[in-house]
């Protein structure tokens, strides 16, 4: 159960397992309730099919002794809800509210219909001459804490990296800061997950996660490029 989502996609960030954990917890709880309710529902239909000579019972459901059949599950549902809420809020706090200090900050700019990723270059500082801006490809170093500064030039977009379990809308006029720490090398999809016009389905990008050496080599291979850096 714990690896429900990992059957489909690897978990490639530090918090991916936490999010998968909430999903697994909810799956167990609602799976239990859902299956139980369906089994009872279908079981009752089978058990109480019309039989000749048998009259239905007269049950108002308003006596104390009858209402307990609703009251007990009611309290159990409430208890399960509390469990789900606690688990969800803890993970949410970790992913969206409590940002660890960054090793590196990247700028992510969405527009109709492309992504621009501005990497800080060798000096590890944004807004300097050695920034490396790349369209539709985000280059990261594994096991490093990143902050992203998410912007939009035109309409709403959403920055989603499914293997990180990360999603955040981009809003024109705002800069939204978030974080992630990649834990696996490889190349994965980046999606736009907010309807952004005709080209919404044509806005794919890739994230390339490399070892420290590989990433450093990539940075060295880029000379500072004034024209691209100007898009920041």
């Amino acid at each position: 159960m714990y690896t429900l989502i990992e059957r489909f996609l690897p978990a490639a960030s530090t918090y991916a397992h936490d999010i998968d954990g909430v999903i697994a917890l909810v799956a167990i709880i609602v799976g239990f309730w859902g299956v139980l309710a369906e089994v009872i529902l279908i079981g009752l239909v089978v058990a109480f099919r019309e039989k000749p000579g048998v009259k239905a019972q007269y049950i108002t459901g308003e006596q104390k002794s009858e209402m307990k059949w609703i009251a007990y599950p009611h309290h159990l549902v409430l208890l399960c809800d509390v469990l789900v809420i606690v688990a969800a809020v803890r993970v949410w706090y970790n992913v969206k509210q409590d940002l660890p200090p960054p090793d590196t900050t990247v700028r992510v700019i969405a527009q109709q219909w492309a992504w621009t990723f501005v990497h800080p270059g060798a000096d590890n500082k944004l807004d300097t001459a050695d920034d490396i801006a790349v369209n539709d490809e985000l280059r990261l170093e594994v096991n490093r804490t990143y902050h992203y500064k998410l912007e939009s030039r035109d309409v709403l977009h959403s920055f989603s990296i499914p293997v990180f379990r990360l999603k955040q809308d981009a809003i024109p006029g705002r800069v939204i800061t978030g974080w992630f720490e990649p834990t696996k090398t490889g190349t994965y999809d980046i999606q736009c997950t907010e309807m952004c016009g005709i080209g919404h389905g044509l806005m794919p990008a890739r994230v390339v996660i490399e070892s420290a050496d590989g990433h450093a080599a990539w940075i060295r291979s880029h000379r500072p490029d004034a024209s691209l850096a100007a898009v920041k």
Binding site: L4, R7, L9, D18, I19, V22, I23, V26, I29, V30, W33, G34, E38, I40, L41, L44, V45, F48, R49, K51, V54, A56, Q57, Y58, I59, T60, G61, W69, I70, P73, L78, D81, V84, I85, A88, V89, V91, W92, K96, Q97, Q112, V155, L156, S158, S160, L166, D169, A170, I171, P172, G173, R174, D189, T193, E194, M195, G197, I198, G201, P204
Partner: protein, 574 residues
């Protein structure tokens, strides 16, 4: 003067006018648009809603075939380009919610059932009622007109988020976007008028002896739903006017470059949009309550429990809207508040499910076609309900937001509401509406060929959602993680299931029209049910009863001990 529609389809004395295609009938306006009879207005809403459902279903067919077989020439449409794809998904959603679920569940059922079930001759504001339908019809025409203007129909999703929806330079539908908005606004006006009528009628025109807690649950549900609608639509209506100004005269209510805020629209939209889910859910639950009590010959388990959980759900539904916006850029602390309210709304809804299941206990269950629909509603809605918890839990929603998991979840709520419960209602009240029984064998074949493929569509889509497939994407070819062959197998399965489900609706259409003439004559009370509509003639004449009924008891007195018969109509003195 109103003419019950059955005469029109039968061998009545209408001569040349007696043919099925009333849309070209010269007397159309006088007879069918200008009627103030609640039953005729209900029929107008029902048939308009069913017609719009065919359009919405056709759209689903086109984009599902395209998604399963990208680039294919879709029979009956052609190749689907990205702009067309966006228009199709946008309008499929808009139509199915605003022009199918709303008119059929609230307007058609409300108009038909309220006077008949509370024992009065008509709605208290019959002319307001007529105006409501006329505005609704106009709104439907305006919406469809959007497909025939330059630039095509709006394609910015049914949520119409600005800045995309606000500027033609972004959405490339300079006329389509404002037309869509005007259509939606007109539709709101129509339902506001209807809502005033439903609440006023149910509060004031009940038969002598019918106390508030003697009203059938479905009437309560329509009343609560109308109140929810009226209380939530105001902010969105204001938002729609602001967005219309942004689109047409260049104001900047939602434009950050002019000091506006795009997120404001999302709050206005979802402040309405989430109660709206319950606006259509509650009447559907009401229908199911009527049908399962009748066909299990049981009193509803805890009438007041159902009512109080409905009140609780309605009230709570005003405080959950931002769960649609967890990752939209709202203050992340706010997500914690809305996670709590959202997950807690499962309590009253679960309780309602328990009540319905408990009602079956000790019953004498008859699996007629309406009962099959009612039970299938419970089976499917349970799945829709529990999968909602994944999305209400903020931590899990980060992954699931805007994936096919969300899409499958809300189709597991809206299909039970707008399809299963509507078929339940139509098959249950058909004998009352038209005086004849529908064919049970065809009804059951139609049921299985709708319910099984429905699951066949959305179970694969749940799985694709788990795999991270995001919504509203024209083609997955560009996403290596989503273009694996096994994912295409799931898409094929879903699309083929949809085609089977759509084609099966021909069985229903045939059964519907064939039974008008050939069905067994129903009589007043073919299901041996308690509520007052079954004491009127089938179909009820103008004015419903020669002498209005008096009510002596609650609506669910089935199998009362010590009585010979297993039902006890509300109007029977002893």
């Amino acid at each position: 003067m109103a003419t019950p529609i059955h005469e029109h389809h039968g061998e009545g004395d209408h001569g040349a006018h007696a043919h099925d295609d009333h849309h070209h009938d010269p007397g159309f306006v006088q007879k069918y648009l200008w009627s103030t009879d609640h039953k005729m207005i209900a029929m107008q809403y029902l048939f308009t809603g069913m017609f719009m459902a065919i359009i919405g279903g056709y759209m689903a067919y086109v984009f599902r075939v395209h998604l399963a077989y990208p680039g294919v020439h879709v029979p009956g449409f052609g190749q689907v380009n990205p702009a067309e794809y966006n228009s199709l998904v946008t309008n499929h959603g808009t139509i199915m919610i605003f022009w199918v679920a709303m008119p059929v569940l609230i307007a058609a059922l409300g108009n038909y059932l309220i006077p008949l079930m509370i024992g009065c001759d008509d709605m208290v504001f019959p002319r307001l009622n007529r105006l409501s339908y006329q505005i609704f019809l106009l709104s439907a025409i305006v919406l469809i007109a959007g497909f025939f203007v330059e630039g095509g129909a709006f394609g910015g999703a049914w949520t119409s988020y600005p800045p995309l929806s606000a500027k033609a330079q972004y959405n490339n539908t300079p006329l389509g976007a404002p037309i869509w908005l005007v259509a939606v606004a007109l539709e709101f006006i129509a339902f506001l008028l209807g809502g005033i009528n439903f609440v006023t009628t149910a509060m004031n025109s009940r038969a002598p002896g019918m106390k508030m807690f003697d009203m059938p649950i479905v009437i309560w549900m329509i009343v609560i739903a109308s109140i929810l609608f009226m209380a939530s639509v105001g902010p969105l209506f204001a938002g729609a006017i602001m967005l219309f100004f942004d689109q047409t005269v260049g104001t900047g209510f939602f434009d950050p470059n002019k000091g506006g805020d795009p997120i404001l629209w999302q709050h206005l939209f979802w402040f309405f949009g989430h109660p709206e889910v319950y606006v259509v859910l509650l009447p559907a639950l009401g229908v199911v309550a009527e049908v399962i009590t009748t066909f299990s010959r049981k009193k509803l388990f805890g009438y007041r429990t159902v009512l109080f959980t409905s009140f609780a759900t309605g009230l709570l539904s005003f405080f959950v809207w931002a769960h649609h916006q967890f990752i939209a850029g709202i203050d992340p602390r706010m997500a914690n508040v809305f996670t709590v309210t959202t997950v807690l709304i499962s309590v009253p809804i679960a309780e309602m499910m328990f009540v319905y299941i408990a009602t079956l206990y000790g019953g004498s269950i008859r699996l007629t076609t309406p009962m099959l629909w009612a039970l299938s509603f419970l089976v499917a809605f349970l799945i829709g309900g529990v999968t909602g918890i994944f999305l209400g839990a903020s931590g899990a929603d980060i992954y699931f937001h805007d994936t096919y998991f969300v899409l499958a979840h809300f189709h597991y709520t809206f299909v039970p509401i707008a399809i299963l419960a509507v078929f339940c209602a139509v098959t249950y009240w058909y004998p009352k509406m038209f005086g004849r029984m529908m064919n049970e064998t065809l009804g059951k074949i139609h049921f299985w060929l709708t319910f099984v493929p429905f699951n066949g569509i959305f179970i694969p889509l749940f799985i694709l959602g788990l795999g991270g497939q995001h919504r509203r994407i024209w083609s997955y070819e560009n996403f290596p993680e989503l273009s694996r062959p096994e994912y295409y197998s799931l898409r094929h399965f879903a699309s083929i299931s949809l085609i089977i489900m759509l084609v099966s609706q021909l069985i229903f259409i045939f059964n519907f029209f064939w039974s008008l003439k050939a069905g067994k004559v129903a009589g007043k009370n073919p299901w041996r049910a308690n509520t007052l509509e079954w004491t009127a003639d089938s179909p009820p004449p103008h004015g419903n009863w020669k002498e209005l009924p008096t009510c002596y008891r609650g609506p669910y007195e089935y199998s009362v001990p010590g009585r010979e018969s297993d039902y006890w109509p509300q109007d029977e003195k002893s």
